[in-house]
């Protein structure tokens, strides 16, 4: 681990000015992504996981949003980067795919045209050469009869096939980082499986780093090397995939894992997290989870730092509970 990480995010903050005051959507997020690593960011809606990525990529076009903190990509600061410079990175070094493949492609152009546009935005190649590469890419992501299908419009593809098109387009300029925002959420389970396999295969082949944003712990388990669990704009737990999924340390992660109905465990009452995630206008000091936490204490009115509380290296959590009591406490709520 001597090489510098590909992406180094430090104290990222996204705030929105609203009529009722400032809302902190992302509240001091720090993490790194190594080269060739797959980082999973898991959280429920409103946890700020997508917002953090969008702010980094300059995709927040809300004039009331302010972004602070730092995100170094290959040593270059992304936050506050002027648009022309950012546009040279977006789509070439950093690519993105989105949740809803139905709406993410422009409906009035063929998919081949859209991939060619991606290539020619960043590289000086003839349109014939770009078209040839677009067909190759479509073929590589498993679109049958790619040469003919390149001339088809997005509405002529199924959801899974459109997501493949999106992946082909995102890979067109060999990005070193792929940010995938809930790429399988809108898809059926067998299609989700296909897309996950595809991302995994391509990631192995090209060695790109991937940030996978999802609400599904199962997806994280399938694909991620390391995991960040986000809650109310903060990282509450960070660690290797197996560490987080098998021996989670934060009470929120316990609840999140317990709430998933797993096949083969039918009839068991699901563990629930009482109450609702804090709204944008709730008190934003202290641990954001404390109002729903069974183990909340006086200390929780102060935000715990993300730090190692156990023996496992690289497994961090933001909770004041004594490190050695975690396992027994988790048993308690299971």
């Amino acid at each position: 681990m001597t090489a510098a990480p590909l992406l180094e995010v430090d104290d990222l903050r996204v705030a929105f000015r609203t009529r009722d005051g400032v809302v902190n959507a992302v509240n001091g997020l720090s993490f790194t992504v190594g080269r060739g690593e797959v980082l999973g960011i898991v959280g429920e809606s409103g946890s700020g996981k997508s917002m953090a990525m969008y702010s980094m990529m300059g995709l927040l076009d809300n004039p009331n949003a302010t972004v602070a903190g730092s995100a170094l990509f290959e040593g270059t600061e992304l936050i506050g980067m002027p648009l022309p410079k950012l546009n040279r990175l977006r789509g070439s070094s950093i690519a993105m795919i989105f949740q809803d493949p139905m709406t993410a492609l422009t409906p009035v152009y063929t998919v081949g045209w859209q991939i060619v546009e991606q290539i020619r935005t960043h590289e000086k190649v003839s349109s014939q050469a770009a078209w040839k590469r677009a067909v190759e890419l479509l073929d590589e992501v498993g679109i049958p009869d790619a040469a003919r299908r390149a001339k088809a419009y997005p509405h002529e593809f199924s959801g899974g096939m459109r997501q493949r098109v999106m992946i082909a387009m995102s890979l067109a300029c060999h990005p070193s980082l792929l940010i995938a925002d809930e790429p399988t959420t809108a898809l059926d389970v067998t299609t989700q499986r296909q897309i996950l396999e595809l991302i995994r295969d391509l990631q192995a082949k090209y060695g790109s780093s991937v940030i996978m944003i999802t609400h599904d712990m199962g997806v994280i388990s399938e694909i991620a090397d390391r995991v960040i669990v986000m809650y109310a704009g903060r990282a509450v737990e960070l660690g290797g995939k197996s560490q987080v999924v098998r021996s989670p340390r934060h009470p929120y992660t316990w609840g999140l894992l317990g709430a998933i109905p797993r096949p083969g465990q039918r009839g068991r009452r699901l563990a629930t997290i009482p109450g609702l995630p804090p709204g944008p206008h709730d008190d934003q000091t202290g641990c954001p989870f404390r109002s729903r936490c069974r183990f909340a204490m006086d200390e929780c009115s102060e935000m715990p730092p993300l730090r190692a509380t156990g023996d496992a290296a690289g497994h961090l959590d933001a909770c004041w509970l004594p490190g050695d009591t975690r396992e027994s406490l988790r048993e308690e709520i299971a």
Binding site: M57, G58, L59, P63, L83, P84, N87, R88, L89, R90, G91, S92, A95, M96, F98, D100, T103, A104, L105, T106, P107, V108, E117, Q118, T121, H122, Y153, H155, M166, M169
Partner: protein, 321 residues
């Protein structure tokens, strides 16, 4: 090809239906006796029956309908009921170029104004440019065309005619074939007046569409691809946003050519279709009304057919239907 044939067939059907409706309204409306109007006030029963016979009003309705259509389309010698001897078809042929000149010229101007305004307003959303364009737009929409026309006339023909606008010719129409320069000069202010109203509407519609489009997922994809804002607006957002503008354009163009530019025609003394329709309605002059209505229906239907074709060009999703 099949598409075109289908459209043509339905256009003919629509025109046939309209002609029947107009015909029936005219003859089947109780209390409206064209013979009485033709014969003049206080005509004796003998004169009335003479008139009836002379104009064929004593024949059964279907026969009269067929006769009228025969005179209108085949022999083309249908004559007015009011200005006895005036043939209808030449009247239309004379009025149509005036209206076409007025509307087509204005259309070019308002499309440029509307698209330009809409795109500019979207491009500079958040700055003062956007609200300024939109306020101008709403003002243009709210001002009635005849009022704008009268004000323009007042200024160019009267108040400032001796100074700034001394080059403005008197009201009226000069055929293109006779003198293209004068044709354009005579139509310049009518064009601008008509275009102001529609340009305002189009700018507002397009801006609303563009702003919606700029919030779409595919625009976010475009940004993530590293496309410039300019390219996203022009190549991605604009194309889908044009559909409603095109359908609006079809409707407007059809009805304006069909005679809806009446107010502008009257204000600027242009003897177009609107004026002709208006006069014939005043006199209950059925042959002229019939000809005008069918002429108008033709353009409305034709414009709609063209809109459908354009739709398919703009949006591939429509092509399958």
């Amino acid at each position: 090809m099949l598409f075109v044939a289908k459209r043509l067939g339905s256009a003919l059907l629509v025109m046939f239906a309209i002609s029947i409706v107009v015909f029936l309204i005219f003859f089947a409306t109780p209390g409206v006796d064209p013979a009485a109007r033709l014969a003049g006030r206080g005509a004796s029963p003998e004169v009335l029956s003479q008139v009836r016979h002379a104009f064929g009003f004593d024949q059964p309705l279907p026969v009269r309908y067929v006769l009228m259509m025969d005179h209108l389309f085949v022999t083309r010698d249908l004559t007015s009921y009011v200005n006895i001897g005036d043939k209808v078809v030449p009247q239309i042929m004379q009025a149509a170029p005036v209206t076409l000149s007025l509307v087509l010229g204005a259309a070019i101007i308002w499309i440029v104004l509307g698209l330009g305004g809409g795109i500019l307003a979207t491009r500079f959303r958040g700055s003062v440019v956007d609200p300024i364009i939109m306020v101008i737009g709403i003002a243009a929409v709210s001002l009635p065309a005849y009022w704008v026309g009268e004000v323009v006339n007042l200024i160019t023909q009267d108040r400032l005619h001796d100074t700034v606008f001394s080059w403005v010719p008197p009201l009226g129409y000069v055929p293109f074939a006779q003198n293209p320069g004068q044709w354009a000069l005579h139509l310049l202010f009518p064009w601008l007046t008509l275009a102001l109203l529609y340009g305002g509407i189009y700018a507002r519609v397009l801006r609303a569409e563009l702003v919606t489009a700029m919030g779409e997922d595919y625009v976010r994809t475009g940004r993530a691809k590293g496309l410039s804002e300019r390219r996203i607006l022009w190549r991605h957002a604009l194309r889908g946003s044009l559909s409603p503008v095109v359908s609006l354009f079809g409707l407007d163009l059809g009805s304006l050519i069909g005679g809806a530019a009446l107010l502008t025609e009257v204000v600027f003394g242009l003897p177009g279709i609107g004026k002709l329709t208006w006069d014939s309605l005043q006199n209950l002059d059925l042959p002229v009304i019939m000809a005008c209505v069918l002429y108008a229906a033709f353009f409305v239907v034709a414009a709609n057919a063209i809109v459908d074709l354009l739709y398919a060009v703009i949006d591939p999703r429509v092509r399958r239907a």
